[in-house]
């Protein structure tokens, strides 16, 4: 069971690596923000599974914080784009 956890964690990180390509080449700022938003979700999942693999509940809190507040970054970027403040 624990092997499955680390496999899932690494797979989520690998998908995050694919998203980094979009983050790097994205033609507009919106594309980059989309990639970043998805990337933060992948990081949350990876952290949760790594916590279950390593049997450390402390890592769970990191994932919880990331899930709670990563969307604030997206909302701030959306506001900046919408009001043309860039």
């Amino acid at each position: 069971m624990h092997e499955l956890y680390i496999v899932v964690a690494i797979a989520e990180l690998a998908v995050g690596g694919l998203l980094l390509v979009r983050l790097a080449v994205g033609p507009t700022t919106s594309d980059r923000v989309v990639a970043l938003n998805t990337l933060s979700t992948q990081a949350t999942l990876s952290l949760l599974f790594f916590a279950a693999f390593a049997d450390r509940t402390a890592y769970l809190d990191v994932a919880l914080w990331l899930a709670s507040f990563s969307y604030l970054g997206t909302l701030v970027w959306a506001r900046l784009l919408e009001r043309d403040l860039l």
Binding site: V8, V15, T28, V34, L64, A67, S68, T74, L75, D84
Partner: protein
């Protein structure tokens, strides 16, 4: 039984996550990419998280917090995707050349046509 269910859920979630990431890489404009991103999060993250809950049980330290994360993702991500799509539209990010309809544009044009001419 429980183990098999976990493996199935994780595999389902990983397949959806991978396809969503490929979509984000390959889709032609930002609106399609936003759609792929929200599918990745809903259909890709939730089965994986539910798999962890099934494996650990819902009332353990892991399962409980994973459930909290699941609810947070369900609430927050559609809102963030919507805000982002709206911001991209208002920012004037062009649509793909094959796009067939631009509903907000039509709506504003119709409203403008229906309005009486204002005094100068």
């Amino acid at each position: 039984m429980r183990e098999a269910l976990t493996i199935v859920l994780c595999a389902l979630g990983l397949v959806f996550t991978l396809s969503g990431a490929v979509g984000i890489l390959r889709m032609p404009d930002v609106y399609c990419r936003i759609q792929c991103s929200s599918k990745t999060i809903t259909m890709g993250a939730l089965p994986v998280l539910l798999g962890l809950v099934v494996a650990e049980g819902p009332f353990t330290a892991y399962g409980g917090r994973v459930l909290v994360v699941t609810v947070l993702l369900l609430i927050v991500n559609p809102a963030a995707s919507h805000a982002l799509a709206r911001a991209a539209y208002k920012d004037g990010v062009p649509m793909w050349s094959g796009a067939v309809i631009d509903e907000p544009e039509q709506k504003t044009r119709r409203a403008r046509r229906g309005r009486r001419p204002t005094r100068a």
